[in-house]
């Protein structure tokens, strides 16, 4: 985390070029699937509608949170509130003690990454198993997720073969099926012996107090039903007002994320096991976590980002993300949504580097299922960074100087002449900006005559 994006991205491209290949291949695949899946329905109307529902939710968040608490409690769920990561950790620690937990299975949850749940549990002496195959892979590799939906997107098949051979004793040339079977053997055992299952939450329906989870592997269903205790970590923005909102949101999420019509498994959980039921946990907890979300909500320019349903479509569409994957950003959330959310959730100063990890191509805005104006928000972070002087005095001096030249046409035309008179300088490696450009392109090559000159000499008289 200490290293900024710029240095991390540079290092990653130099030392792990294979990550670029893996991430590019996977994201282009997801991206093409999403495009096809959007094309099968009236995606534009769905996106408008979903955006409207989420904006409404955010405008009445206090109301819906209290409603959700009331309904969840009525369903026999214990509801907890965590203002920040420390609160959430404390609540989770108490629950581990109270329920005498020795082993935990986890469903995929980005919020649990924010809260650093795994290291907390390890400190408490609890054994933790990530049960999403991708998450399990990176847990074995001792790495953070590289993508919201595909945490191991940066790993090639060969990477995983080597990792599993070392950690699970599989053959060096194991097939993907054999690798999955090896993980399955470990995880089945864990599901059956775990005391607690920890999940995230894709949605919580406020009017009914229903926790909704979407997945493709069945591991979340096992995580939330096999162990005797289920704890769901839910960001306060993850609510939906009504059950019927799920009709569009479940389909839109799946289409945006992977191009599927629906997730393979959708679980609607309305409380712990009832007396007449044979399965399910004895106790169920929902921990609602703020952890910076209230400050994002209070920020007019950024609050729409809380509509995010964590589909990862903006990462898949992002050509900048594609070059390095998520690790270069050094944060839990990467790609366009990570650039927008992270400074708001954690520290505005982070925008000084993250804000510029973007070529402003605006491809993300085209795909976001809830129409978050990501490029506009990234620009707003840049504006704030520039206003706070984060780019340094030289950058400000250059832009102010340029603005001064440009608003005085005579100066502008004079500098055009200088560009040609001092041609040697157009590839000088020691010059700011010009040197950086020349390193990848060679020196600047101005036209022999500027257009102004061509106009004066030829075109004006024709």
């Amino acid at each position: 985390m200490a290293k900024g994006y710029k240095a991390a991205a540079r290092e990653m491209l130099a030392s792990q070029p294979e990550v670029r290949a893996s991430v590019t291949k996977a994201t282009l695949h997801f991206h093409a699937n999403r495009e096809r899946a959007y094309g099968e329905v009236d995606a534009e109307s769905w996106r408008d509608w979903a955006a409207t529902v989420k904006r409404h939710l955010l405008s009445r968040l206090d109301h819906y949170l209290l409603l959700a608490e009331e309904k969840l409690s009525g369903n026999g769920v214990e509801v907890h509130w965590a203002e920040n990561a420390a609160d959430a950790q404390q609540i989770l620690s108490r629950l581990v003690k109270r329920h005498d937990v020795k082993k935990v299975v986890k469903g995929k949850s980005m919020l649990s990454e924010e809260l650093e749940v795994n290291s907390l549990l390890q400190r408490l002496g609890v054994e933790v198993f990530e049960t999403d195959l991708g998450e399990y892979i990176i847990q074995l590799a001792e790495e953070p997720p590289s993508h919201i939906v595909g945490p191991a997107i940066h790993k090639s098949l060969d990477d995983i073969r080597a990792l599993f051979a070392k950690r699970l004793g599989t053959a060096r040339d194991a097939s993907p099926e054999e690798l999955a079977a090896a993980a399955r053997r470990v995880l089945r055992e864990a599901f059956l012996s775990a005391d607690m299952g920890i999940s995230g939450g894709n949605f919580v329906v406020a009017e009914s107090g229903t926790l909704v989870l979407v997945e493709n592997e069945g591991n979340i269903r096992l995580t939330t039903s096999a162990p005797r205790v289920h704890v769901a970590l839910v960001g306060i923005e993850k609510l939906l007002p009504r059950t019927r909102d799920l009709e569009v949101f479940l389909q839109l999420l799946a289409r945006a994320a992977t191009g599927q019509k629906l997730g393979i498994f959708t679980s609607l959980i309305s409380g712990p096991r009832r007396p007449d039921e044979s399965d399910g946990p004895e106790v169920m907890h929902v921990i609602f976590v703020d952890n910076g979300r209230s400050s994002v909500l209070a920020d007019d320019e950024m609050q729409e980002a809380l509509s995010c349903i964590r589909c990862g479509a903006c990462l898949n569409a992002c050509p900048v993300y594609r070059q390095t994957g998520g690790h270069a950003y050094g944060q839990v959330y990467s790609g366009p949504i990570g650039i927008v959310l992270t400074p708001g959730l954690k520290d505005p100063a982070l925008a000084a580097e993250l804000g510029y990890a973007c070529s402003l191509c605006t491809a993300c805005a085209d795909v976001c299922p809830v129409r978050i104006p990501l490029p506009k928000q990234i620009l707003a972070w840049r504006r704030r960074a520039a206003e706070s002087g984060a780019g340094g005095p030289l950058e400000k001096w250059l832009f102010d100087g340029y603005a001064n030249i440009v608003s005085k046409p005579r100066f502008y035309r004079m500098s055009a002449k200088m560009l040609r008179a001092f041609k040697g300088l157009t590839s000088a490696p020691w010059l700011p900006v010009i040197g950086a450009w020349a390193s990848g392109h060679g020196g600047l090559e101005p036209s022999p005559k500027s257009f102004h000159q061509i106009w004066e000499e030829e075109l004006a008289n024709e």
């Binding site: 130099a14 070059q323 070529s359 605006t362 840049r382 102010d400 030249i405 440009v406 046409p409 560009l419």
Partner: protein, 240 residues
């Protein structure tokens, strides 16, 4: 019909001949082209870098220079997008300048768009017969303004073959300040464009900056890729 030509600072310095071709093309279509000499830069570099005070200053200058012309035509997709889609937002809360920005936005067109949408020209001639072309869709002009079929249609009508390119609408990695702030990532993006580029005679685009980025990097890599600005090809379509 009278058109004010906004060459844009980048084309003025680096694609001056292509910009001259744009003027020749417009004149050949019986358009009176004027060139307000006070013009400089639309302010996009500062805007994208977050330096909005500097951007406002440049945008104001541009507003004054182009006041009163019926049409303003640019041989640059992203500068057109700056004037049309971004500049008004710089003047939020400043009604007179906001209104002036909207007014200028309404009169401003990218060259190929102007030909197709205002002049209703769909066929310039067949000067590009047999030329195999890769067309790079600049991000801003294609996504923010939706200008995609106009340049491609004009090239095809002139006999050029637009060779399918899987990455034709992907960002080339230029991105203004991005190309100097995050050099390795910016170049890796250009590599993806160049590595997927099909066999063509020429790579073109409505955006000179993208061409400088891809062309410069191709040269640095020792690749033999010929880069030409859309304005030059369109003039050749008519004149070739």
């Amino acid at each position: 019909m009278r058109v004010a030509f906004f060459v844009t600072c980048l084309a003025d310095q680096f694609f001056a001949e292509a910009a001259a071709d744009a003027v020749r093309l417009l004149r050949s279509l019986d358009i009176e082209v004027v060139f307000p000499r006070g013009q400089t830069c639309c302010g996009q570099p500062a805007y994208n870098a977050g330096h909005w005070d500097a951007a406002r200053k440049m945008a104001l200058h541009t507003q004054q220079v182009f006041e009163g012309y019926d049409y303003v035509v640019l041989p640059s997709g992203s500068c057109t997008t700056m004037v049309r889609a971004y500049t008004p937002g710089l003047f939020a809360g400043d009604k007179p300048h906001y209104t002036a920005a909207l007014d200028l936005a309404e009169r401003t067109y990218e060259l190929s768009e102007f030909l197709v949408k205002v002049l209703n020209v769909e066929d310039l001639g067949d000067g590009l017969r047999g030329l195999k072309v890769a067309y790079h869709h600049g991000c801003h002009v294609s996504r923010e303004l939706g200008i995609k079929s106009e340049p491609v249609g004009l090239l095809e009508a002139a006999g050029a073959e637009i060779v399918p390119w899987q990455a034709d609408n992907e960002c080339c990695g230029f991105g203004g300040v991005f190309s100097v702030k995050n050099v390795p990532v910016s170049l890796a993006m250009a590599d993806h464009k160049l590595d997927t580029l099909p066999e063509v005679d020429v790579l073109t685009s409505a955006d000179g900056a993208c061409l400088m980025h891809m062309g410069g990097h191709a040269k640095k890599r020792g690749l033999d890729i010929k880069v030409r600005h859309l304005a030059s090809l369109l003039w050749e379509a008519r004149n070739g």
